[in-house]
Amino acid sequence: MRLLSATFENWGPYYGTQSINFDCERTAPIVLVYGENMRGKTSLLRGLRFALFGSVEGQDGKMLDPAVMANYDARDESDSFEFGVTLMLEHQSEEIEISRRFAASVDNGRVVLGSIRNKMRIVGKNPIPEQDIQEMVSRIIHPDIAEFFLFDGEMLERFEKRLRSDETSAKYLRERIEMVLGVPALRYLKTDIEALIEDTSAAVRKESSQEKTSRDRIKSLEAVEDAQRGLAKDRDQVTQELEETRKVLKSLETQMQEVEAIKEIFFDRKSKEEQIAELDRDRLGIEAEMRAFLQTNWWIPVADRLSLEATKAEEAMVSAGLALDRQQRLAYEAEQIRDQIGKPICEVCGQSVPEEEFGKLKERLSAIEDERKDETIIDISLLQTRFKSLSRFINISPVIEQFDSFDEEIRRKIFRASSLKSEVESLTQSIEGNTVDVSALEKNLQNARGLEDQFERALTGLEEKQAEAVSKRSVLIRSISDLAPSGGMAKAKLQVLEQVEDAVGNAIDRFRDSMRLRVEDEASAIFKRLTSEKDYAGLRIDGSYYLKIYDEQKRPIDMRSAGADQIVTMSLIGALARSAVEEGPIVMDTPFGRLDRTHRSNILKWVAAMNSQVILFVQSGEFERERDVHLLDNRVGREYVLRREGATKTRIEAMSHD
């Protein structure tokens, strides 16, 4: 069987009609659906189960009122609406459509379910009559084994919990294996034969009741049968009490799961609040630095002008210096010329100075005096003082950059804290109104588990006593039959029935053993592939259904890690799925949540190597596309993202997949 598509109409958070196409090439049969917590991954899984079996199951396997799956927005929009799921699948080369839809009305905001319309048709053929739909679906995938194909992380955890305890694991494992492999059906045959033996032995008793010895044995037999009846009655009572306890336990476990989910949200919120507090602390630190900065850099508003003024002051000082220098040089030259003109004999060579030379000196002196006529008095010290007070503004870039950096840093912190605050708000809304008394719940859970163990042990004890009584009774019946006159019809019939009973019993045992070995082989092969522990060589399910990991020397390993427990569970489920039918899709909702990276990567590689269709509903905490998708070895045929459009609305969006 292969899923082709699913269409959800006003189902859970999926408002209107939204579809997922699962039909992929055989070479890339994996479909990935990404969705964060509370986006509706579990609603998708519930939708698939609903389309197949017509019921809505909670994560504990308990039936839920289908009204819980009605979309809130559809409910609020109109007084009546429809919701449901349509599934297209392929089975034995035929396309089959299964559709289940509820007509619903709204009464004071509450969804009231109307009739359900179940439709099933093989494409190109007449619709299947409604009363035959369940039978047809069961032939494709039986509801009893569906949990091994359509499973979620929570189911894995429950399965694992049962396997972890030696007292319950053997019985649980045996039940699961027998259920998947159809042993219960064979047992009905044995029960029928036992009923025939019962009738026939009554006739034999009648035939042999003439003998005194026979009469004594018949009395003993009757006593054993009385005891058997008593044991059966006790067993029924204990079974009933066990079932009641299990119901209570399931309900408590569901509440506990809800508490766990709340706890997770609470811790998530706490961690976000701590991040906000840290951001606020950092921000306050930077703000304090900014305040200290503005105490000394109070001129920031006029920084540009000061920088310009500083440059101008520097230029003025430099040009004034040059002008002053020239003034001083000209004054000196004029003084030298005046001195020379008053002396007709050269002081250096002692010769007389020609008249024309005096003329040139007088001309030069006149030019200098002309230039000095417009000279102003330059007060360089004033310019120097001005420059001195502005010099620190010549290069203000580092200061401005520091100011900008404080500003940007504070803004970043504010922005991040604000996004985190919105997330905290949304988390707070999601856990509003929950007032569970966790310690009382844990105590009740503990008590219920204790009771379950107690009843299971009592049941095992009663079963052992029943087996003893059956054997005693069998011996007595045989001995009575031996005493019966030969040639009697009843005696002959009883002998044949006893032989048939033995043969059927042996056949069931052999079948169970061979199937157990098959599951063991499959599980062991998967386990070896998935485990990251080098010392683990495989799994073994012994004759008493004790599940053990063994090493290379075939020695059982008693101490194993929590990671190994999860991998054992995953391996068993994989093996049971493989042993149950020839081909079926495997749909996993949040399967890797609690696994470490190595195991996650091993499982993804195993998934990629499977020939089956695999549909994974994952969240970012367990699967990061960039990091993990390569582990699926190009086997991903389609990808979808569950986008949040509101607290009660999610949109299924296909990712482009070239």
Binding site: E287, M290, R291, A292, L294, Q295, W298, W299, I300, P301, V302, R305, L306, E309, R386, S389, L390, F403, D404, D407, I410, R411, I414
Partner: protein, 126 residues
């Protein structure tokens, strides 16, 4: 700059603010952008110069700080004089600061951080 009401001048050794100036200072102090009132006042003076804010010309100025506390390092008044006139008195600086504080407080209502105010050129007068 407009004419100054001579009856409200600074004593020359103290700096005061009008009631509106004090209110504006309260607004800015609540924002925690400045280490203290002096720091806010000094930025307000340069803010007023940068944005052409007209000095406060009326109202009664009550003493808030001493001049010494405003210009402890002695670099404040010279720089302000360089920008706003060499003969600027402490009284004129007080009026500029008062007006600057009021303008900054007004701008702060729409601002997230101090940069939004002090580097946001505003030609509006007080």
């Amino acid at each position: 700059m407009t004419d100054i009401d001579d009856t409200q001048v600074s004593s020359g050794s103290t700096i005061g603010l009008t009631q509106q100036g004090r209110d504006a200072l309260d607004v800015l102090e609540a924002k925690k952008w400045f280490a203290n009132g002096v720091a806010a006042f000094r930025v307000a003076v340069t803010y007023a110069i940068a944005n052409g804010v007209e000095p406060t010309t009326s109202g009664s100025f009550g003493t808030v700080w001493s001049v010494a506390s405003i210009d402890r390092e002695g670099d404040f008044k010279p720089v302000v004089e360089l920008l706003a006139g060499s003969s600027l008195t402490w009284d004129a600086i007080q009026r500029l600061g008062d007006a600057g504080l009021k303008a900054m407080a007004r701008e702060s209502s729409a601002a997230t951080l101090v940069k939004d105010v002090i580097l946001n050129v505003n030609t509006e007068t007080s």
